[in-house]
């Protein structure tokens, strides 16, 4: 059973001055697969995903989406290639409400006279779609027009992750999705990520410190150390101990 490769990164490097933050990293992501990128602080996880998602410009290497080489120079390029990234803490504008965040930068216009002549935004459509989307992920907001700063961290995270799926991202990158969340909310977000893969059929890259969550969620684990890939394991063929020793570089 040969699975399709949706994202392939070849020999990707990113330097800051003399420091090799990411050094010749190769990785493949198959369709409907969840992989984790793990590593210690400063191992290059964040730099790697920021280079893939266009926040940083790569210095060397190639990126292929569904087999076609792409040039990603900014976050908009990445979105056009179907790569949606959810950054920790930075994903939403917390003084806006959920519909405004879901449709940020892509607000639909009204189809009636007001929309055609004056380009008025269709708030009702935005609200209805937001309610539908949140409903799908089992969230019911008491007030759909509440500022996001009034919601729980888990609800906010659901909106960010849901937005990535809503806009048809084929590849979703999640940076520390369970950071700063309570136990109950962690569980919700983990279930949400699985649901995303099963229902929306997307491929997901997760960056996480939390080995427990990584083992629960993913199919494959990629370990970075000092900017280089030091190993790659299928979850069913490895153990927590092995991964931890790869991260730290100390033999188990």
């Amino acid at each position: 059973m040969e699975k399709k490769v949706v994202l392939e990164v070849k020999e990707l490097s990113k330097h800051f001055g003399g420091i090799k933050a990411v050094d010749k990293v190769n990785l493949k992501l198959f369709e409907k697969e969840i992989i984790a990128i793990v590593g210690d602080n400063g191992a290059g996880k964040s730099t790697l995903i920021k280079t893939i998602s266009g926040v940083y410009k790569k210095d060397e290497g190639k990126i292929f989406v569904s087999g076609v080489e792409v040039e990603i120079n900014d976050p908009i390029n990445a979105k056009e290639c179907g790569i949606e990234t959810v950054y920790q803490d930075e994903g939403v504008i917390s003084i806006l409400d959920a519909p405004a965040n879901l449709f940020l930068g892509r607000e639909p216009l009204r189809k009636d006279f007001l929309g055609r002549a004056f380009k008025f935004i269709d708030y009702k459509y935005m609200r209805d779609e937001t309610i539908k989307l949140l409903d799908r992920f089992g969230i019911e907001l008491k007030d759909i027009n509440a500022e996001l700063s009034n919601l729980s961290g888990g609800q906010r995270q659901t909106i960010t992750v849901g937005r990535a799926a809503y806009w048809g991202g084929r590849i979703i990158i999640l940076d520390e999705p369970t950071n700063n969340l309570g136990v109950k909310q962690e569980r919700r977000v983990l279930d949400l990520i699985k649901k995303l893969r099963d229902e929306y059929e997307v491929s997901i890259i997760v960056i996480s410190h939390n080995i427990e969550h990584v083992f629960e969620l993913v199919d494959r684990i990629i370990v970075l150390r000092n900017g280089s890939k030091v190993g790659e394991r299928l979850k069913k063929e490895t153990s927590r101990n092995e991964i931890v020793s790869m991260i730290t570089g100390v033999a188990a």
Binding site: S94, D143, N150, G153
Partner: protein
């Protein structure tokens, strides 16, 4: 079920408190008016109301434009200078009698002044990358200086048609400037509330970095807000020239202070992203009425700045409390 419902009412109420300052403003204004008119019935006389409407219209028009800038988290303190230089340009063009320039052209020229200086502000902030407070402090000084150089003595405007623009009354009692204020308010309110541009102004004030990540052209939008602020200041300048029949280099000194007070009191957060034009409109009325009350109570004009200052500080303290409450509830 029952419990969930109770909770939802509670949360809605809390949100309303935090999100909207409008009910508070409205109630404050009503209480203020009722109290003052009980003490001094002159306050609600036709003449008094007329003078309030005339007084508040010009600062009102200008603060509606500046609201856009403050909502993105920037400042425009050059408005007073834009107003003065507009008045000089308009008065100069009108006093060149030999040329006989049509009034429509003069008005367009006045509006162009706001457009050009607004663009300079927008350029300094978005292209050169200077902090907006500093950039507009610079243009404030530069254009005030130019206004003084070109005005010399005050320029007297004799054109009666032009003088009617800012002095006329509709239905005998409604000042035209007040009508302009309402028209501009409705237009700007619709833009801010119902168009993408309006949404982006709020998004940038909320978190410019995230807005940019989602493809919003942050610099372009910010640039446009400075143009809006400049043009509304020019409108106020044209109207002031018409009302007083004068072009002077020292018009509207200290307006930046008045305008920021109006915006902040109206609930526009100085950290950007929060507030609405409805609040600003009520705030325009509150400040306009306070000035009139001081006049009626024979408080010398030199005390006006004192009261403005107190109101500004109070408004900023309220703004800080609201922002802090917002931040706390994130965790």
């Amino acid at each position: 079920m029952n419990r969930a419902k109770r909770e939802s009412i509670f949360i809605n109420f809390k949100n309303l408190n935090k999100r909207s300052i409008i009910p508070t403003l409205l109630i404050t204004y009503i209480i203020m008016i009722v109290t003052v008119s009980l003490i001094n019935p002159l306050f609600v006389s036709l003449e008094s109301i007329k003078s309030i409407l005339i007084y508040l219209a010009l600062t009102g028009i200008s603060s509606i434009g500046t609201t856009f800038v403050i909502l993105t988290g920037n400042f425009d303190i050059s408005i007073g200078s834009i107003l003065a230089i507009t008045s000089i340009v308009v008065a100069k063009l009108l006093t060149l009698e030999t040329l006989g320039i049509p009034i429509s052209v003069v008005i367009i020229a006045g509006l162009l002044v706001g457009l050009v200086i607004g663009s300079i502000n927008g350029f300094l902030v978005n292209v050169v990358g200077i902090n907006s407070l500093i950039a507009t402090l610079g243009t404030l000084a530069i254009f005030r200086g130019i206004a003084y150089v070109f005005s010399g003595e005050s320029l007297i405007v004799y054109d009666n048609t032009f003088r009617f623009i800012g002095r006329g009354y509709l239905f005998q009692h409604v000042p035209v400037t007040f009508i302009y204020l309402i028209v501009i308010f409705i237009f700007m309110y619709l833009i801010l509330k119902f168009t993408r541009f309006g949404r982006y102004v709020y998004s940038i004030g909320g978190k410019a970095f995230v807005a940019a990540l989602y493809g919003i052209k942050v610099k372009k939008i910010q640039f446009l807000t400075f143009i809006i602020s400049g043009v509304t200041a020019s409108i106020a300048g044209i109207l002031m020239t018409s009302q007083l029949g004068l072009g002077r280099g020292d018009f509207a000194i200290g307006w930046e202070f008045k305008i920021i007070t109006i915006c902040v009191l109206g609930g526009i957060s100085i950290s950007g992203g929060r507030g609405s034009l409805v609040g600003v409109l009520i705030s325009i009325f509150i400040l306009g009425s306070i000035i009139n009350m001081l006049t009626l109570a024979d408080v010398p004009i030199i005390w006006r700045d004192f009261f403005h200052g107190i109101i500004l500080i109070l408004a900023i303290v309220i703004d800080r409390i609201r922002v802090r409450r917002g931040e706390l509830s994130q965790f």
